[in-house]
Each structure stands twice: as C-alpha cells, then as structure tokens.
C-alpha cells in the first residue's frame, strides 16, 4: 500500500491548526481543553506516520506516552475547572480574572 507521507503529515498539520484555532477562539474552558485534545491527536498522527514511513517503532511508543500524558492533563485540567466552577458558576475564561478569591 502506498499512503503518501505528505498526505498524512499534511492532515496532521491541518488538524493541529484547527486545534490552535479552537484553543484561541473559544471562550469556554472545557472546549479549549477539547481543542488541546485535537492538537494532541494531530501530533500522535504525525508520530505514527513517521513510525510507519521510517519503519521505526519509537514513534508509536512516543505516541503512547503522549496518550498517557493527555489523560493526566485531562485529569488535572478538569479538576481545575471544577474548582473554578465552585467559586464562580460557569466555564467562561472571561470570568476568570482573579488568581485568588
């Protein structure tokens, strides 16, 4: 099978750009986190693509670590969201203007 390397890396770049756009443009903290997940998926795709084209397992191992760290990031990030929500209902970044209540 001949998957073109440019197609996979281009797809990865486009998905990463969409994630950056979402992270910068959305005003809801949870949707900003979702945009981060889109970016992490783009990176995983790139790593798996290089692992395939260079016939090297390290890319896939690195992608597995990225998934594990994405889980950790989701846990801590959503814990923060819940803590913020306790102080001020809602999940809009515009409301979070103080470091301490």
């Amino acid at each position: 099978m001949t998957l073109p390397v440019d197609a996979i890396q281009g797809l990865s770049a486009v998905l990463f750009g969409i994630g950056v756009f979402g992270f910068l443009a959305r005003r809801n903290i949870i949707l900003m986190f979702i945009s981060v997940e889109v970016m992490l998926n783009a990176v995983n795709l790139s790593l798996a693509g290089f692992a395939w084209f260079l016939d090297d397992l390290r890319g896939q191992i690195l992608a597995l670590f990225v998934i594990a760290l994405a889980a950790a990031e989701a846990g801590v990030g959503l814990g923060l969201v819940i803590a913020l929500n306790r102080n001020k209902p809602g999940a809009a970044v515009a409301d979070v203007t103080k470091l301490k209540w």
Binding site: T2, G17, R27, A48, G49
Partner: protein, 194 residues
Amino acid sequence: MSFQLWLLRLKQQFWRMSLLTAIFYYLAAASVASALFAVTRKNPVHSMLWVLALFLHVAGIFLLLGAEFLAAVQVIVYAGAILVFYLFVVMLLDLPVEVERPRFGSHWPVAAAVGACFAALVWLAQAPMRHPPGIAPGPAVERAATGGPARGSLAEIGAALFGPFAFPFELVSLVLLAAIVGAVVLARKRRALS
C-alpha cells in the same frame, strides 16, 4: 503461472491498494470535518460527540498505518476514558448560560490566522524530514511479508516498553499518580478557613 492468473492477481492488488487509499482519504476528510465541527459547535455536548468522531477516525488511520495497539489504545483510553471524563464534567457543571453566549471571542479572525500560520509552520518545518535523504522509507507491510511481527503489533510494543523504554514507562506511571493526587486535591471541597 499462467498469464490470466497473473493478470487477475495484478487486478486484485490494484483494487486492494486503491481501496485502502480511498479509505485513507475518507478518514482524512472525515477527521478534518469532525475537528472543525468540534471546535465550532455551540453546545459543548455536540462538540464532545464530534471529537469522539475525530478520535475514531484517527484510530482508523492508525490501523492503516500498521499501529494496531495504538489504535486500540486510542479507542479505549481516548474515546472510552478521557471523553467520558469530559462529558461527566460538562454534566456536573450544567452550563445553560454558556450556550447563550457567543461561541467565539471577537478576536476569532486573528485566532484563525494564527491557526493557519501554525499549520503552515508545521508543514514547512517538517519538509526536510518527510523525505530524508539517504533513508529509503520502508513501509512496515513489506517487512512483515518477509517474516517477523509487523511494527506496532502487541508483541513488538510490549518488548519495547519492557525493554529499552522501561524507564520512561515507569516514569509515566509516576506522572499519572501525580495527576490523580493533583486532581483530587484540586477538586476537593475546601473546609472554610476560620
């Protein structure tokens, strides 16, 4: 081998290859579309469902890339665990007010430009690596045809994780432990200081 048999095999090969290429382009287009929907939908739950579609399509691309274990982990951990976690938090927060607000800040054209620039930057920065001189990219399928497990099979991933990558693997478990403790500490209800 008779000529007709050879022709038949050639035809089969051709269809198999073009079918896989078509599947890849379908998965790529669906990934981009669901990522766009995920970052633009107003309702957070709709966004989550679109990002679920994105995760599943990316898992399909992983399968095409011979990363079977990665595809399974993508479905189980990403689509199964992380996304359910996000949905739980959305359910806990109950955001009726958020849906009323504009979904993007007024600076969204700048954000779109930055996103496009970032994609272009990634593309350009990768250019020398996509076609490295001196290295002939050997797709894993050809290697598997000559014997030995395919790259990305459970056997190879396991041997790598418990062999040369054992130390980073253990470190990741430490990071996950720290994340669990951190999440509990952050989300815990504080007693009022008096």
